[in-house]
């Protein structure tokens, strides 16, 4: 019997011919990623008491949640991690000004390849399913175990397949599709499952857009989420790695727990918005009426990539951010920052009144660079709108696509981009 992609990768990593859902397997780990919480991992690792990590070449550490250090406390943990990294000979370390958001930095620098088992101490590690990796989030102590043994136990997940046909309507993006899916299935709709996205609408997406699907699948509980390994993906990866790249996919006779068919054109008529305070509280924009926004945020591991900055720049070029609204823009990585500088996107955004923050997680986790006061409302291209996520427990976050964030910044309230710009811009970035 055939296997899904999750089953295939786990079987191989566990040294078995086949595996089936609900089986417990111990799998070899190919890559172990941590950010600032490497300090927690380090503490647990030291408690376990082994002298050396299992393989320093398979560990990547990327600071992103609090860069540059916003407090003495953070500066101290950064310092402790730097010292640990040096002592253990961990070469793949991206310090302040060298990387950016971990989920962007890993693929950008060729650390991720199809068929890998990748664990990260960050829930949005599912993002790397867009590169054909079995990639999932784990906690800090669990990671200390991986640093010790280079392996981890997994329950083989059943797989939910989502096939999307048709073509996206103007202004509708990957963010709208995945918010629609999360709205349909709920915050626990894919709990413990693997998700496979496929179909013509998915295969026509840029790699950056596919990352949005894999990233946000976490918000419906997915353990891992894949988009197809195809030529588009291999074209992205080839210049970034010298390692062999494998065209890996599910078997044609793989068994799925459920298959959902959607049409990009027929099931997505307008932008989708996740309303406070849950990512599955999704409504079409037209149902929301007048929602004034105090702050608009464009960035994060979900939507801080070059195509996101480009669409915002094209909407904001020659316009200004509404006087009652603040627009905060955060490129996802140093590389994206440089490209956006070179291509003039940041100039257009700054000219419109945006404040550009350094690459990193920004205000998404609620620690710095744009915290909300009680009573304030934010429209954000980020991934979570939980109560108090971006500041006061009495603030509200609406999650939306980069185009809606940019349009709303101009309008000073939630707005459809078509009300700001007559013609849909043709994006150059792929």
């Amino acid at each position: 019997m055939g296997m899904t992609l999750a089953e295939k990768i786990l079987a191989r990593a566990a040294g078995r011919e086949t595996v089936a859902p609900d089986q417990i397997v111990v799998a070899r780990v190919d890559l172990a990623m941590s950010h600032e919480n490497a300090d927690l991992v380090r503490k647990s690792f030291l408690e376990i008491g082994v002298a050396r990590v299992w393989d320093p070449s398979k560990i990547v550490i990327i600071f992103d949640h609090r860069i540059p250090a916003e407090s003495e406390k953070t500066a101290t943990t950064h310092k402790a991690v730097r010292e640990f990294v040096a002592a253990q000979g961990i070469q793949n370390f991206y310090d302040v000004g060298r990387g950016g958001i971990c989920h962007q930095v890993l693929p950008e620098n060729g650390h991720v390849r199809p068929g890998m088992v990748l664990v990260g101490t960050d829930s949005h590690t599912t993002t790397h399913g867009a590169f054909g990796a079995f990639a999932t989030g784990i906690g800090a102590t669990e990671m200390a175990g991986v640093w010790t043994e280079g392996a981890l136990w997994f329950k083989v997940p059943s797989t939910l397949r989502i096939e999307v046909g048709g073509e996206f309507r103007p202004w509708i993006s990957a963010k709208d599709l995945i918010l629609r899916v999360i709205g349909m299935l709920g915050a626990a709709g894919a709990d413990y499952q693997a998700v496979e996205f496929d179909g013509p609408a998915i295969r026509s997406m840029t790699v950056a857009s596919r990352m949005v699907l894999a990233n946000l699948s976490m918000e419906m509980g997915a353990k891992v989420a894949f988009t197809p390994v195809d030529e588009t993906l291999l074209d992205y990866l080839r210049p970034r790695t010298t390692e062999k790249l494998e065209m890996i996919g599910p078997d044609p006779d793989a068994r799925y727990q459920r298959v959902i068919h959607l049409s990009a054109g027929e099931d997505l008529w307008e932008p989708q918005i996740a309303c406070p305070h849950a990512v599955d509280n999704v409504k079409p924009l037209s149902e929301l009426g007048d929602v004034p926004v105090d702050q608009a945020v464009l960035g994060s591991c979900t939507n801080g990539r070059l195509e996101d900055l480009e669409i915002a720049a094209r909407i904001l070029a020659g316009r200004t951010v509404h006087p009652h609204t603040r627009l905060i823009v955060i490129p996802a990585s140093q590389q994206i920052y440089r490209s956006a500088l070179r291509l003039g996107y940041l100039d257009a955004l700054v000219a419109a009144g945006a404040m550009v923050n350094a690459p990193g997680c920004g205000p998404c986790v609620g620690v710095h660079q744009g915290i909300l006061a009680a009573g304030e409302t934010c429209v954000s291209s980020t991934n979570r709108n939980f109560l108090g996520r971006m500041g006061s427990k009495d603030s509200r976050v609406y999650l939306a696509s980069p185009a809606v964030v940019a349009a709303s910044a101009v309008a000073g309230k939630l707005a459809h981009p078509e009300t700001i710009v007559k013609e849909v811009p043709c994006l150059t970035e792929v």
């Binding site: 919480n37 300090d39 829930s123 609620g366 620690v367």
Partner: protein
């Protein structure tokens, strides 16, 4: 469960609803607290600050489905453990949170009917290996899923760190 016992007795502090996320359990602004014991100070700080004061050592938190969804922050499980929770009982748990709890030695018990069968203040007895919860106050049995043997092994050791410590000392 420092003694590695698989039978627990305690009181229900509170019964919570669906999708209690890790931002509610432990706000992101305190993620740079890396001393596990100190995380307890911020348990449910934004949304339900009363839970921390009501929680007595050995108490149980009961919730509906998808408890601990969201971030991978281990501090959410640590805050519950070091605030004194003896076990967590929910209709279902988000996967990273579930693993974090077990790895820290805090039992997480899946019991689909627990919300309907328990009220705050009820006295419960949990048999982790048998997958059984006895509500002593209401004199009723609540079915729970038996824990995976791997999880039982980790809980019996007191968590992943003591488990690995022993394994690699040999």
């Amino acid at each position: 469960m420092p003694d590695g016992s698989l039978k627990l007795r305690g009181r229900v502090t509170v019964v919570l609803g669906d999708n209690v996320d890790t931002d509610l359990i432990y706000p992101g602004r305190y993620l740079n607290v890396t001393d596990r014991e100190k995380t307890a100070e911020h348990l449910f700080e934004l949304a339900y600050p009363d839970i921390r004061t009501a929680l007595k050592p050995g108490d149980f938190i009961v919730a509906a489905k998808n408890f601990g969804c969201g971030s991978s922050r281990e501090q959410a499980a640590a805050a519950l453990k070091f605030a004194g929770a003896g076990a967590l009982i929910a209709a279902s748990f988000a996967r990273i949170f579930f693993r974090n709890s077990i790895n820290l030695g805090l039992p997480a018990v899946v019991a689909p009917e627990a919300c309907a069968a328990c009220a705050a203040g009820d006295e419960l007895e949990i048999d982790l290996a048998a997958g059984e919860i006895r509500n002593l106050t209401q004199d009723r049995l609540v079915h729970a899923a038996g824990l995976d043997p791997r999880a039982v092994e980790l809980l019996a050791a007191g968590g992943l760190i003591p488990y690995l410590k022993r394994k690699h000392a040999a």
